[in-house]
């Protein structure tokens, strides 16, 4: 009973701000568009789901998968050495290094993205720097590369922190045992450190991949018309076409698609 009381605020919060909106989205997705406020007629129709089984939406989904996948891998490749370096730094320096990782959060998200626009735009800081060493301009802004860059930049801390948490739980004796049995430092990393850090890698990947899948702002600001992600399609269905059922159906499918792998990982961890 006491336990219930302690957890009650969390349950109430989840019910009101997570479950209820999800149910509303689900209900809207089953309705049909109509003139009025809200622009939806509630009934049990699957029409909007038939609408989104279209190559246009599938392409946007594939685009989002690619963006989120590339960004997650980039975060892993950049974040792993960072997390390892912080975990291996002296106990005195670790707080400083961790603070540096989360320092970008001190500035507003939109502000930082706008800064990226200034960096990447034609004639921006990047082009100026390239020109100074005699290189041609990069024309990065409004390309997929700019979106990868932006998402990797924004989500890197979400990769570093769980990885760091795992890598600090280091068992030096295991690494010494591997070295003692003939493993070079590189082999020690590949056969002991890396496999034992997988329980930090998966949450890190999920924490980057899931929000990156639905990301709207970064593709909108940095991507240009070529990078039509699911987030942007959702936005235009809602606000430009005012087709709430189609947008809600997209959101529902996306949520289910994202919850499944995360739930599978949780379930596996729980069984251990």
């Amino acid at each position: 009973m006491n336990r219930f009381l302690v957890l009650a605020p969390a349950w109430v919060w989840l019910a009101v701000f997570q479950l209820l909106p999800l149910l509303i989205v689900l209900a809207v997705s089953l309705g049909e568009p109509s003139e009025g406020i809200p622009p939806v007629a509630f009934r049990l129709s699957g029409a909007s789901y038939a609408t989104i089984a279209d190559v246009f939406y599938l392409r946007a989904l594939a685009q989002s998968l690619r963006v989120a996948g590339v960004a997650s891998l980039a975060c892993l490749l950049i974040g792993y050495p960072m997390a390892l370096a912080i975990a291996r730094a002296s106990a005195r320096r670790r707080p400083l290094l961790l603070t540096l990782v989360i320092l970008p959060f001190w500035t507003g998200f939109l502000l930082r993205l706008t800064a990226w626009v200034g960096l990447l735009k034609d004639g921006g800081w990047l082009d100026t720097a390239l020109g100074a060493v005699g290189l041609p301009p990069a024309h990065l802004l409004y390309t997929p590369a700019a979106v990868y860059l932006g998402i990797t930049y924004c989500y890197l801390p979400f990769m570093v922190l769980p990885l760091y948490a795992r890598l600090t739980r280091r068992e030096i004796a295991l690494e010494e045992a591997a070295a003692d049995l003939g493993a070079s430092p590189w082999r020690v990393f590949a056969t002991v450190t890396l496999p034992l850090s997988i329980p930090g890698v998966i949450p890190g990947l999920l924490l980057v991949f899931i929000p990156a899948m639905g990301e709207y702002v970064i593709p909108e600001l940095l991507g240009g018309p070529g990078v039509e992600t699911i987030g942007r399609v959702l936005w235009s269905e809602f606000f430009d076409n005012r087709d709430w059922p189609t947008a809600s159906a997209l959101a529902t499918v996306l949520t289910v698609a994202l919850v499944l792998p995360a739930a599978a990982w949780q379930w596996r961890q729980g069984r251990r």
Binding site: A173, E176, A179, D180, L181, A183, P185, R187, P195, L196
Partner: protein, 357 residues
């Protein structure tokens, strides 16, 4: 050891290692011959583990040299040294099965799969874990894990096996059984072992030679019998075998010493000469003391306590000057003195161990 230099497996010269203000090794030199079971005995902070880790290559000494079979390995990293170590925590890889743990070192040698598998099977048989190769380490008992660690360390057939407190994580009965098994295995393999322990009983029962470490120095190296019968100093006499130690004044130094001991009325006669003039220590092993007054040396006092252990009884006798003697005799000695009774203890001159103060 009496072997020639060609039999020397490990040769350690004047090792020094400092951690900040602490000097863990203060000039340690040591030779180990092939086939030895050498035990490094010492309390915590004595430097015994640092010495072992330096031989393994985990610590780089500040000064000194380590030669293995005549080759200088002082600067070699652990993975290039022909020694293997069994860790106190066992350090089994939790993500690998038992067989994969044992095969880990073999893979690094580039052994083919068939050869590797055959070898792992033989090692599993050797440590009596036949059929458990597919298990995960965390599903094994403590004793089984200990044997996996041993098999893994033996797999590469090292020139020298280092064992860091290999029995300390086992409970007492298992520890004694495993002690004998381990010593028997060492004899059978003929592989040199260097074993670190803080347990003097373990050292005495297993070792072919013991090196006692204290404060970063090897204070004495010898066979268990040498250490027991001729301890180098007072602390060793009490650390190994728990001798009674009394202050004594030398009356006659040679050929056989005669001592004046406060608390003992008669002069004490020893069978060796005194190590110094003036004040020395007289060490007496509890089991060399007999009950009763018929002996060359006699001390009279009051029985203070009796500790019964089943096979033996240890009696504590308080001497008139306040010092105490513990005498260990067979439990069936028939004596029935009670605490508070007067009790005499006697011993022969050759039971006297004379130590420099």
């Amino acid at each position: 050891m009496a072997d020639g230099p060609e039999a020397l497996l490990l040769w350690i010269e004047a090792l020094r290692k400092r951690y900040g203000a602490v000097e863990a090794l203060r000039g340690v030199s040591l030779d180990i011959a092939a086939g030895e079971l050498f035990v490094l005995l010492g309390g915590s902070g004595s430097g015994k583990t640092t010495l072992l880790r330096t031989i393994a290559g985990f610590e780089r000494p500040d000064a000194g040299r380590i030669l293995l079979r005549g080759e200088d390995v002082t600067a070699l990293p652990p993975h290039r040294r022909p020694v293997n170590m069994m860790f106190q925590s066992y350090a089994l890889f939790p993500h690998l099965k038992v067989a994969e743990n044992i095969a880990y070192g073999l893979r690094r040698m580039g052994l083919g799969r068939a050869e590797r598998d055959a070898k792992v099977e033989r090692l599993l048989d050797l440590v009596r874990l036949t059929g458990l190769g597919d298990r995960r380490p965390d599903t094994l008992s403590g004793g089984q894990r200990q044997r996996v660690a041993l098999a893994r360390a033996l797999a590469r057939e090292p020139a020298l096996l280092l064992l860091d407190e290999p029995l300390s994580a086992l409970d007492r009965s298992l520890r004694e059984e495993t002690r004998e098994e381990l010593a028997a295995l060492q004899r059978r393999l003929g592989m040199a072992f260097v074993l670190v322990t803080h347990d003097q009983e373990e050292a005495l029962t297993m070792a072919s030679r013991i090196g006692v470490m204290r404060d970063g120095l090897l204070v004495q190296v010898g066979t268990p019998r040498e250490l027991y019968e001729q301890p180098a100093d007072r602390e060793l006499a009490t650390f190994i075998g728990g001798a009674n130690v009394l202050a004594a004044e030398v009356q006659v130094a040679a050929p056989d010493a005669v001592l004046l001991v406060p608390g003992i009325t008669k002069l004490v006669r020893a069978a060796t000469e005194a190590p110094a003039d003036g004040q020395i220590w007289l060490a007496l092993r509890p089991e060399r003391l007999r009950l009763g007054a018929d002996g060359a040396n006699v001390a009279e006092g009051v029985l203070e306590g009796i500790s019964y252990r089943g096979d033996v009884v240890t009696r504590t006798v308080r001497l008139p000057d306040g010092s105490a003697l513990r005498a260990t005799t067979a439990a069936s000695d028939g004596a029935e003195p009670r605490p508070g009774d007067a009790l005499a203890l006697s011993w022969s001159p050759d039971a006297c161990i004379l130590l420099r103060a």
